[in-house]
Every structure is written in C-alpha cells, then in structure tokens.
Amino acid sequence: MFGLFQALLGSVRDLLPIMLVIVFFQFFVLQQPLPNLPDLLVGTVLVILGLTFFVFGLEMGLFPIGESMAYAFARKGSLVWLLLFAFALGFGTTVAEPALIAVADEAAKVAAQGGVIAMDTASQEGYAWGLRLTVALSVGCAIVLGVFRILKGWPIHWMIMVGYVGVLIMTMFAPEEIISIAYDSGGVTTSTITVPLVTALGVGLASAIRGRNPLIDGFGLIAFASLLPMIFVMAYGMAF
C-alpha cells in the first residue's frame, strides 16, 4: 500500500511539468481561461492514476516476463526459435500500432495528392496497408538483427553508421513526398508496451550469455527498430 502511495507521488511529480507548461501558456501567453474545467480535472486524475498503475505493473509483469523468456531462450540454445520469436515480437507489436495506422493513412493522402496512386479510397487503403506491412516487416527484421548482434557481441556503432549511410543513400533516390514520412515512421513504431518488453529481452539475453555486458550489449534493440523502418519505407516509396 505504501509502495502504491509512493508511486502515486512519483506520477504527480512526472506530470507536474506538462501541466505547468499548459497552464502558463493558456493564462499568460494566450490569455484565455481553461475550457471545460471538470473534464480537465477528471482527465488529470486519470492520467496520474494511469501512470502509477503502469509503472507498478512494469516491475511486476513486463520486465520479469521479458527477462525470464530471454533466459529460457538462452538455455534452450535454439537460434532459429529465438530469431523467430524476435521477428514475431517486432512484427506483431508494430502492425497493430495505432500511431503507425494514423501515419500510414496520412501518407496515403500525400501519395494520392502527389499523383503516385489514384485518388479513390480503394487504392489509398491499399497503399496505407502496404506501408503498414512494410514498417512492421522492417521492425521485425530490426529486432532479429539486434538480437543477432547481442549473440555475436558486435559493437553497435558500426552497424548504426552503416544504417545512417543507407538512409542517406536512399534519401537521394527516394521520391520527395515519401522522405519526411519515412523519417517519421522510424519514431512512431516503438510503443509504450513494446519498449519495456524489448529492453527486458535485450538485457536478459546479454546477462544470460557469458562474455556479454548487459549495458553495452543489452541495449540497442530499439535503435535498430527506429532506423530500419526509414530505409524500408523509402524503398517502398521507390517501388511505387
């Protein structure tokens, strides 16, 4: 009970800055009263409670299961299953991601306006669906690549630099409308549930394998998941 109360205080402290910013700009810059005060108060209470429960559940559920699965895979010693799991985790969490669905729909509108695809709904929906599959595929591949790096102990910065060069080369050839969308798609893929799970998986694997440092080798999975979608989406834009 005391732990929950402490977590509650922590959430208030985490959310205080954003409330202060909004109140400051509303009163002092825009000089307007707060609209719909009851809704605002209820919403604030919900946000604080929500963050508290989330952080509480994180330590109880998400972190332990991510790590225990990483240990179990390391003990089992089957590379194929581990990589298959990595792919499924990346693909499965991304394909249904709400932020990605929103970006894909916007991107379809851009493509239709740019004359890349027809203006009708059917081809826009097809384009958006193709884009979502592309991003999900790229995140799946990214987690596979990241897990493989942990197993091999390769230094991350060389791989990321190769990725950067890849992004820049693709930028030169990709159609202009897709470039900004491709850059953004790297950021929207990693959701609030995926991040703790993937982090726990990486750290768990690096701790379970002898000779790997959890700090140096365990982190970095998310970095791949934000880099590969850029390259894949630009390739998708070129294919059309």
Partner: protein, 265 residues
C-alpha cells in the same frame, strides 16, 4: 456514466492493441519453451496493472492534455499571421512557437512512460551509475531542442534531409569521443522518446504550423518533426555521459594531486 463508457471502450481498445503481443509471448512460452512462467500469478497481475494503467493514461490524456495541447499549437501558430503578412514569412515572428515547442517537448518527455521504463532498467543494469533522473532530463532536453528546431524548419520550409545529414554527422563524431558504455543506450533513447505523450502533441504542432504558415503544405511540411525528436536525445545522452565522465576524471585528478602534496609535506 459517459466516463464509465469511455473507460470501458478505452480498456477494450488497449486490450486489442496488447493482444497480439500477449498471444506471441504466451504462445512461445507454451509451445516452444514449454516451461511454466515463474511467479505466473504475479506476472498476470502485473499485466492487468499495465493494461489498466495504459487505458487510464490514454483516456486522461484524451480528456485533459491533448485537446488543450492541440488547441494551443493551433492558436500559437495563427497568432503571428497578421503581423507576418501573407507573402513573406519572417521566422523570428514565431518566437512563441519555438518557446512552446521547447517547453512542451521537455515536459511531455518527462511524462513519457516508455522512457521511465528504460531509465529504470538502465539504472538497475548499470548498478546505479546511470541515474534515472539524469537520463530522463538529458533525453527531455534533447527532445525539447529537436521539436523546437523542427518547428523552425517548418517555418523556414527548408528541406529536411540537410538537417538530418548534419545531425548524423554530429552523432558519428560524438560517438567517437563518448564513453563506450553509453553509446547503445543513447541510440535507444531516440526511439524511446517518441511515444504515447509526445507523438500526438508533436504531430498537432507540426500540422498546425504547416497549415498556418503561408506557403507551407501540411501534407509535405507537416511531417518530419518526429524524426528530429528521435535524433537530438542521442546527442544529449552522449553529452550527459561525457560531462559525468569529465567531472569524474577531474575529481579523481584533484584527489591525486592533493594526495601527492600531502605525501611531499
């Protein structure tokens, strides 16, 4: 009553989003690993907490923060319209937007649950060397700089890839000098930043600006802000590690010097 219905719908929607992940994990656990999960009950209760927490959080954001944040982004980007005139855009007229971007970028990142998760893990794994608040604040500073600069780019209408190339070059140079242990975590922090709280506000800001600044198209210039928010935290996290290392080394050197002078006395 309306609140309860909203809550139920949000919980259902969150469950639907989480379901594929849960199915994959429990599927592999049951059919491939074929081992009982240790502390099964506790893990399941944890999952329920996460699910409820995320639903409350999303519903609260949708009720309180997002409508106001979106409204503000829109109002602040129209405020300067009458002074700026219709044909020539003076980038300096939009100073309130940059300030708003800076402030909202910092505070939204501090409230980001995914970042809290990574900071807790990094603190645990590093044995306390990487501080939870040190990491969160340096990521938040990076996100604030990124959003602010991204807003400036939309006002200027400059092509995004030049900014990205410069950022990449800086990151590569910094990677060379930064302590090796921080590099993977720094690269991760870019993707972690853009999540539940930051993305909707940043997208609203970008689209609002692109709609209201003369000569910008929301469909072309409205995108790209998130990419900036991903890049700057990489630099600030490495900078945070470099500064801590420098202070640590200097303290050690000072100690050595005072030890030596004590020896010679």
């Amino acid at each position: 009553m309306g609140l309860l219905i909203d809550l139920a719908t949000t919980i259902l929607a969150t469950t639907r989003d989480v379901l594929p992940i849960a199915l994959i994990m429990f599927g592999f656990q049951l059919f491939v690993l074929r081992q009982p999960i240790p502390n099964m009950r506790r893990v399941l209760i944890g999952f329920v907490y996460v699910l409820l927490g995320l639903s409350f959080f999303l519903l609260g954001l949708e009720r309180a923060l997002f409508p106001l944040g979106r409204l503000m982004a829109e109002q602040l980007s129209t405020i300067q319209l009458d002074t700026a005139g219709s044909s020539d855009v003076n980038w300096a007229d939009y100073y309130w937007i940059y300030l708003f971007a800076l402030a909202i970028g910092f505070s939204a990142t501090i409230a980001e649950p995914a970042l809290i998760a990574v900071a807790l893990k990094a603190n645990e794994v590093s044995g306390g060397v990487i501080g939870v608040w040190g990491l969160r604040i340096s990521v938040a500073i990076g996100a604030a700089m990124g959003i602010s600069l991204g807003a400036l780019r939309i006002v200027l209408g400059a092509p995004i890839h030049w900014f990205i190339i410069v950022c990449y070059t800086l990151i590569v140079i910094q990677t060379y000098f930064a302590p090796k242990v921080i590099v993977p975590l720094a690269y991760d922090s870019g993707g972690v930043t853009t999540s539940t709280v930051t993305v909707p506000i940043v997208v609203a800001l970008g689209l609002g600006l692109a709609e209201n600044v003369p000569g910008r198209s929301p469909l072309i210039d409205g995108f790209g802000l998130i990419a900036f928010v991903c890049l700057f935290p990489i630099m600030t996290v490495m900078a945070y590690a470099q500064i801590s290392q420098y202070r640590h080394l200097r303290a050690a050197r000072l100690r050595r010097i005072s030890d030596q002078s004590a020896d010679t006395d």
